[in-house]
Amino acid sequence: MLLELLRRDLRLHWGSLVVPILILGMGLGAVVMADEGTRLTGLILETSFLIPMLPVIIHQRESAKGTLGDLLVLPVSRAAVVRLRYAEVLFFTGGLLLLAHAAVWVELSVAARHPIPMSVMSRDQFLGVGVLLIFWFAYPMPLFLGWGMKGLVVGYGSLITLVVTLAMTETDLHRFIDASMARPVAMALVLAGLFTLSYLLSLKFFSRRDF
Amino acid sequence: MANLLELRNLSKSHGAFNLRDVDLAVPAGTITGLIGANGAGKSTLLKLVLGLLPLDGGEIRLFGEDARLGGARLRQRIGFVQESPTLFPLLRVDELGEVVAPFYPRWDRATYRRICDAFELPRKTAFARLSQGSRMKAALALALSHEAELLLLDEPTSGLDPLMRRDLLDLLLEVIQDEGRAVLFSTHITSDLERVADHVAILKAGRLVLAGAKDDLLESWALVRGGEELLEGPLKDRCRGGERTELGLTLLCEGAGSLASLLPDGALQERPSLEDLVYFHDRGKESLCAR
């Protein structure tokens, strides 16, 4: 069932995915030209603000155009739709990581004129992506699926104000980040736990909503 | 009785919907019903009168003047309701009245409030959050509150329940209590017209197929039901359309008064409803009544 729903989203919403993917392409170009060291991290950080928003863009377009009813009238359960959104974010993020590696590998091989071993992301970078996924997708999603546009405004609004206040007050997060990076396995488990919790909350809020 | 509106061989090609040589007069003090299939050009006709669409051919005389010259000024004397009205989605129902009022010298705030209450419209709700029926009622309240002499309503009854339609017909009848005013409204629900319309105009594929006083129209046509023998007799050249079903033949014939003598025995003659007239006219004409 998930496959048909994914195919449906791609066929109906490819239009609204073009713009984000264009931005993704520009991000790739800029990073590839960037200097050696920060290439991969730069790319992931720069575009992964966008990737978690893709499922939100699709779902919001579906409800804005009033076609959410058509989706829910199909022989699919509310749970299937929530699974779709969470699968999509993993699908898009996975796609991004592969694309990033490929871009960097191609650039290096071209520069070195012979194929070189693929440089795989370091553990910290993976965890970095995980943290972003939690903050930028898993936190606002239940609010969005439960209360629609209002929930989204609250979700992203609270995140932005958090980021702005941190930036304005320049609080020092490094100590906290180093501590968590020291215990990667525990952190990975925490991130996975938060992701599942967000899925369960979305399921609960979305199932009881009227359309 | 002067005609408030006269269309003289009106023609317009507007994408898929076009009109060809339409002549129509709306006399003061009457209600005229406009019926026709989807895409027959009803909305196009109303929009032409209002100057929303530029005219290709023919002439429109509004209150005796050429509509093209005094467009804006003449629109002060017209009340218009669009097919599915959008108005200002963000504004509340009472704000809509405030915003439209300055455009009409004879706007009457009390009438607007009275009609909104009669239609049970929530005055504090935004227009976009109203149901389709209530949006139509709000648009009607706006069109009826500046003593418009001519009302042009494009399917005002769609989305309204029978009770609300009866109230709308009451309002229209109240409008023409003043003999100087008239109503032209298009609808798919012919039972409404059957009750109150004085004149009826039937549009098919952009042409005015039938027009005239409703009673005369209904009395001059007849539905004849019978077997295949209907097609042998002299009835054939009176027939303007019909249908063959497993139960037998139904033919729409002209000149109901003098049909009795032409009927083969066992055939039934009935008065058509407006819906029958629209449904059967030109239907299966080639196969059934080819002369």
């Binding site: 304005m168 | 507007h14 929009k47 209002l50 100057g51 929303l52 669409l53 530029p54 467009g71 804006a72 000024r73 003449l74 629109r75 002060q76 218009f80 669009q82 009205p85 959008t86 108005l87 200002f88 989605p89 963000l90 504004l91 704000e95 405030e98 915003v99 439209v100 300055p102 455009f103 009409y104």
Partner: protein, 219 residues
């Protein structure tokens, strides 16, 4: 015309309310930024204020299918076009006024840290307003000739072509310098008047073009 102005005000009032927290938040950020960092980027403020206010004044007519209803009111198409131009222009002036207010406020809050806006900065703000006006006069005919969404598409295509042409014509730095060009011209009074006169003429041309096109529109 007066009823049209009142209608435009009533319809965009709620939109302004919706956008005012965003605008206020942004301006506060600007003032704080200026007081703490001493950098005066008046043009940046000006650009956003004007852009936002122009959007609001034309916004109401573009997004919702309101033009059909407006055309059915007892007003001529010319009046509708004039109202839209007037509102956009008011948006522009309001943006300029807001900019100067922000600069003034910053100076008042911390006279030591944020210097009073120098004539040079004022000139750049006005120059930016003129660039916005130029863009506006080029944009509005598209939105009147075509249905809003198609109009915006057509305008952006035309804008990209114009940019490409100017890039090819004056090279990389020359093209994007309409703003600096205006700044230079505004320096002396005579050319400044000439520029403003030229812009006004362009505005009138744009207005008559829009009026001509809007009369032919079908709703």
């Amino acid at each position: 015309m007066r009823p049209l102005i009142r209608m435009a005000w009533a319809t965009s009032r709620r939109l302004l309310l919706l956008m005012s927290p965003l605008l206020a938040f942004y301006l506060a950020l600007m003032v704080v930024h200026q007081v703490t960092k001493r950098g005066t980027d008046i043009p940046a403020i000006a650009f956003t204020c004007m852009f936002m206010l122009i959007i609001v004044s034309t916004f109401q007519g573009l997004t919702f299918d309101v033009e059909g209803f407006m055309a059915s009111l007892p007003v001529t198409r010319a009046q509708l076009v004039r109202t839209k131009y007037l509102l956009s222009f008011l948006g522009l002036l309001a943006g300029l006024a807001l900019t100067l207010a922000v600069a003034g406020l910053a100076h008042a809050l911390a006279p030591g840290r944020a210097a009073a806006p120098t004539p040079e900065e004022l000139r750049s703000a006005v120059a930016l307003a003129l660039v916005d006006a130029f863009g506006l006069f080029a944009f509005l005919p598209f939105v009147h000739a075509f249905e809003p969404s198609r109009g915006i598409l057509a305008f952006s295509l035309a804008a990209i072509l114009a940019l490409a042409a100017s890039l090819a014509g004056w090279g990389l730095d020359g093209a994007a310098d309409l703003f600096r060009f205006f700044q230079r011209v505004l320096a002396q009074p005579a050319p400044a008047l000439g520029l403003i006169g030229g812009l006004l003429a362009f505005g009138l041309l744009s207005l008559s073009l829009s009026t001509w096109a809007y009369a032919r529109r079908s709703f």
